[in-house]
């Protein structure tokens, strides 16, 4: 009998080698995979968008985004992912699909994406320059402020992109990508960032 291993591993387990990459010197880009998160997609049922909005407000004490934005709550981030739908990104199981099922019963369909997406945080002084090679979104601070989000494509791969809070005075961009496309996009990001010098890592801390 063949033996199977059911260990949960990141889709980037093999591709991601922590350490410096590309040009030497100070790294212009930091690529960090965020692991071990809860991610639930919440989509309004037909004609229930208003009910969903109320249920979300009751649950999170803030309004869920109705346009391309990411909204932070005390212990979760709500990220717009399309008309009448959003992601709930959190840690520790408090907003897992099991926990969210009761408050959204009747108004929304939930889909657990915790292991279906890879979350990559892109930061550093050259983060925007690197992403400009891959994205057609205007990421200038005037056009893409903190909390701005977009459902878009990078290298023909669908991603959910949003700007988190600044770190050390520099913008931090978060990219959610389908797990099976993650390794491909990861390599593309590495190649695009190589000329600036890259610091590669993984973390369990949400940005």
């Amino acid at each position: 009998m063949a033996e199977f291993s059911w260990d949960i591993r990141s889709p980037l387990d093999r591709a991601l080698v922590a350490g410096p990459y590309g040009a030497r010197g100070d790294a212009g880009v930091a690529l960090t995979e965020i692991r071990n998160f809860d991610l639930v997609q919440v989509m309004a049922r037909r004609g229930k968008a208003a009910e969903l909005a109320k249920a979300a407000k009751d649950r999170f004490s803030v309004a869920a985004p109705e346009m391309p934005k990411a909204v932070g709550t005390a212990d979760a981030t709500l990220i717009w992912s399309g008309p009448d739908q959003f992601f709930v990104l959190s840690k520790g199981g408090k907003h897992s699909i099991g926990a969210l099922a009761p408050p959204f019963a009747g108004s929304a369909s939930l889909s657990d994406q915790s292991h279906a997406r890879v979350l990559i945080s892109v930061s550093g002084a050259k983060a925007r320059a690197m992403l400009a090679k891959l994205s057609s979104i205007d990421l200038h601070a005037d056009a893409f402020a903190i909390g701005a989000a977009a459902a878009t494509s990078m290298d023909h791969t669908s991603v959910t992109l949003w700007r988190g809070n600044d770190r050390d005075g520099l913008a931090v961009f978060n990219v959610l990508v389908f797990a099976t496309f993650a390794e491909s996009l990861w390599h593309t990001m590495l190649d695009s960032a190589a000329e600036y010098g890259v610091a590669i890592n993984h973390s369990e801390e949400l940005a």
Partner: protein, 91 residues
């Protein structure tokens, strides 16, 4: 060419897929054979303003109804196709 998605804003053509003429309407179940044939097979080849269906698959995955001039590529209107989050688009 760029299309201004009512949900996402202005995006490049590569994020969208063209479906075709948005005008044909599915005939009733008891409509005659000629009407069904027309609906399934016959298309106008418009040189000018045309109403088209586009899919924003590289973005919010919404279906859009785009009014485009096929001679100039000028887009005069974009709206959500029926059922595709029309409530949100109308805001």
């Amino acid at each position: 060419m760029r299309i201004t998605c009512p949900f996402c804003g202005e995006r490049e053509l590569g994020e969208f897929t063209y479906l075709g003429d948005a005008k044909p309407v599915r005939p009733a179940a008891d409509a005659g054979e000629d009407v069904v044939y027309d609906y399934v097979y016959l298309r106008d080849n418009i040189a000018g303003v045309m109403s088209e269906n586009w899919y924003h698959g590289g973005g919010c995955r919404a279906w859009l109804k785009v009014t485009r001039n096929t001679l100039t590529h000028e887009i005069s209107a974009v709206e959500a196709a029926a059922g595709a989050g029309a409530r949100q688009a109308s805001k």
